[in-house]
Symmetry: D2
Subunit: 285 residues, 4 copies
């Protein structure tokens, strides 16, 4: 017997399809769609973020990343703008019309983040922060749950179960690489997690090829691999000037590489009969 | 250059010695001492916990474990008594005169736990819960920081750095096994972490042989190994009736096995010229 | 400085392209091609192997697998037919006109295998059997070098270096999954190894999605991921009746699933501008 | 049901005790004894090896290490003296009266090594070289089987099973550290393997703290931990001038540190009621 229930295929046969309302047509995440979340690792300043948001929209991204609170291994690293950055995110949303995904690290930030963002992201290091998961379960907003850096598939689905069991059925899983002995790369993408999650669960699964590899020249190949394996989308880091990024520069695509990559993913989505862009065609959750 | 500063040997040459006041003589954790923290995985009911506390005191334990909030992989597992258990811990402390160590999972529980416990434990899954670490940095109470289940030594010391950098210099590290490919055991004890931490840092290091192995018959050998390798103490699970424990029964020692083990550790401490019992002889932090 | 030399991009800028002669047009493995090696895990009996060989040829496989010596974790498992199976391989080659790849485990089998097979396979467990690697370096025959189950990319390239340095430049790397903590799958495919090897080395890289996953329903998605990530081909297990296979049944495709998968890979190869089938168009090593 | 049979406790209840004849009293490896194998990683030249052998004998080592064939990750590293070193080993044996353990990498070296050495060592990288294991099974000489760098306990016991099943019951297991994500140390010693092997099997188990840690200052603490956990002995690297060693210098003890360590191990052996020195007191296999 599997220890997860509500997250299992047995509990719900049809795929969970998550709809995010926007001023224009809704953005969809789930089986049959291919949805791109893109942005810099962290919001660094108003001007560059708004510029980037416009670039990403023009290039075809469907959802913006906008990190304000950054979990950092060292207390001496840049930890994000925090609450003062919220107005920047609001502006980016208004200017582009795109929804925004933002990481939440502390239950005490929930009020302010709930109002501002369309997808709440629970990061890898908080995948088993059960207090946070329980709060996520009380919301009616999509939660993107990144896999813990050495979490088994079962533990990951049990973390999702905390949210589902709390009453929120809008959970998006995101594979972001696991920790192995390999030292050339930051993490090791578990590409098999894509078909395995599709087999065990009805929840959508995306892949983050940026954190997973830590090297920009691996991002496009791994993004293509994810879509070819059946992932429902990609979460990717883009930065105008990766060498000057305050965090994760080495793994960020330039806008030019992003445009090239998104074209390749569009072709793969078509081959896999996935609707690229994740825009609604009338199906709903 | 090492990324951690205040946690390093270079920053502080002499070993950090932590003193916990009690009604009788203070209990000490640090180089030159061998200190035993023991108790059931979770406080399950008043009667059995008080009985166990007395048994452990009689057997020679120096600090009690008393888990009220238990991080559990599945939302369907027993999660501890929560706040209602606090009176039980208070009673155990009063009856035995021993200090108590309790896990904190949520910053919102801090007020109530601060008053009740002598050591706040940050569990493995929260080792990189940076919000929680920052709160720990504001306290004047010892924090026992368990190693994350796939944390590198460097990440672990950086987590300690968050607490030290916040202003709290009473950090105790606790190796509790790391995740590997091995499936016979729950985790793999990294015994080399003991001499490595002693080499890199001035902080005390203890070992939890119960979670690390998941099998009661491995607990005593691994506890002996820890002391022989130079660890400053052991954190161990004991249960009157392991088969009926609501959590972690398989890895709990019976009171009888605990008495036998504590005798072996006492002999090893003597051989290693460590003061067993962790009682003060006038040295202080 | 990288410790491998002859295997590096710096040593040889242009991609290594390996040509395998057949009665008809040569089969090619290398950048710009997409080549499929298929067959049962082990040759079990003459009749079924010849039948399978014909099925695979008809379905579009370019090279046959034909295991005679099987490394088995337990001494009590089926270890392959050994030398008596050589006539079966010869017959399959003659009947289909396809080249054959066979694993070599012991230098003492080299004489008999050298005559019979077109590609010598060094298995995962022998990736650091340096005596065997040195013998492979003396040959003028392609060697397919599987990655050790916990080998780093660097160790893998150094194993290739043993063969190159010995004088044989026909080395094909094959990612077959690494060992991690995950227990749902047999191994974890390191899909990032594909772009990383392409970045670091000029050698061709293939992926074995069968051993890597251990589950037949993951084979096609992972095979597609490999080609989309830029791999030069796939090595896959097919069995007429997977439930009755003497080894690795659970991860074998049925002939019908193989036909479906090969069609998907052909589409991906076309999208990636790779010549499917690995047949020569005049380019050579 | 466990997949290993002859290696299991169920098959043989009493501990396997292995006796190595010498000109003087026999050296014993097994439960109730604590036996020290020591020497440089590789025999480098006649003069220094003979000098070292005498030093080790005087310090109390019971068995000499004498590596002639060294498995090296890179083809450009020193691979040992090979057969020309055999006379040096013979001389060391004659001069000290101590038995010698030597690694075998290739079945073709068996004849020459069989005559020269008292214990044949199968290294970590060859733990699943099944051809080599099968040859070891045909001998009447002790085989020291190192654990593969990512081998499970079960796979290790199955490798032992190959030797036992072939007819040789003189198998000594040696834990030498497994590969994990940790980068400060060369490997991670699985200290829990000691009580686990004692629980599952009747075979002796030793620990190699040198390869396991890769740092000389961790060697003594881990060696003490091994004996305290119940290991039957230690295999340790000693070098007159570690900084000038052709291999593994960083993890080698100086003769002075070795003398200090051996004294500590003697005390621990006494505490654990193990006969230090591994000399026979009349018991036999």
């Amino acid at each position: 017997m599997k220890p997860f229930k509500m997250a299992s295929r047995e509990y719900r046969e049809s795929d969970t399809i998550i709809e995010i309302k926007t001023a224009a047509q809704p953005v969809i995440i789930g089986e049959g769609y291919c949805t791109i979340i893109a942005g810099p690792c962290a919001v660094e300043c108003r001007e560059s973020y708004i510029e980037m948001a416009k670039l990403l929209q023009a290039a075809g991204a469907h959802i913006l990343r906008g990190g304000l609170f950054k979990p950092r291994t060292s207390p001496y690293s840049f930890k994000g703008l925090g609450s003062p950055g919220i107005d920047i995110i609001r502006e980016a949303r208004r200017v582009t019309g795109l929804p925004v995904a933002t990481e939440i690290m502390d239950v005490r930030d929930l009020d302010v983040l709930y109002e501002t963002t369309d997808i709440l992201q629970v990061g890898s290091r908080n995948m088993q922060n059960f207090s946070l998961l329980q709060e996520m379960g009380k919301l009616d907003k999509p939660v993107l749950l990144k896999r813990g850096l050495s979490a088994t598939i079962e533990e990951w689905l049990l973390a999702a179960e905390y949210i589902l069991n709390g009453g929120n059925d809008k959970v998006i899983l995101c594979e972001r690489g696991i920790r192995t002995f390999e030292t050339y790369t930051r993490n090791t993408v578990d590409i098999g997690a894509v078909p395995l999650i599709k087999h065990l669960s009805h929840l959508p699964i995306m892949v983050d090829p940026s954190h997973a590899t830590g090297k920009w020249y691996m991002v496009a190949p791994v993004a293509r691999a994810a879509i070819a394996a059946g992932a429902d989308g990609i979460m990717v880091e883009v930065h105008q000037d990766p060498d000057k990024a305050l965090s994760d520069g080495k793994q960020s695509l330039t806008p030019e590489n992003f445009r090239k990559t998104i074209k390749e993913l569009e072709d793969l989505a078509q081959l896999g009969k996935k609707q690229f862009g994740g825009f609604s065609n009338g199906k709903s959750n």
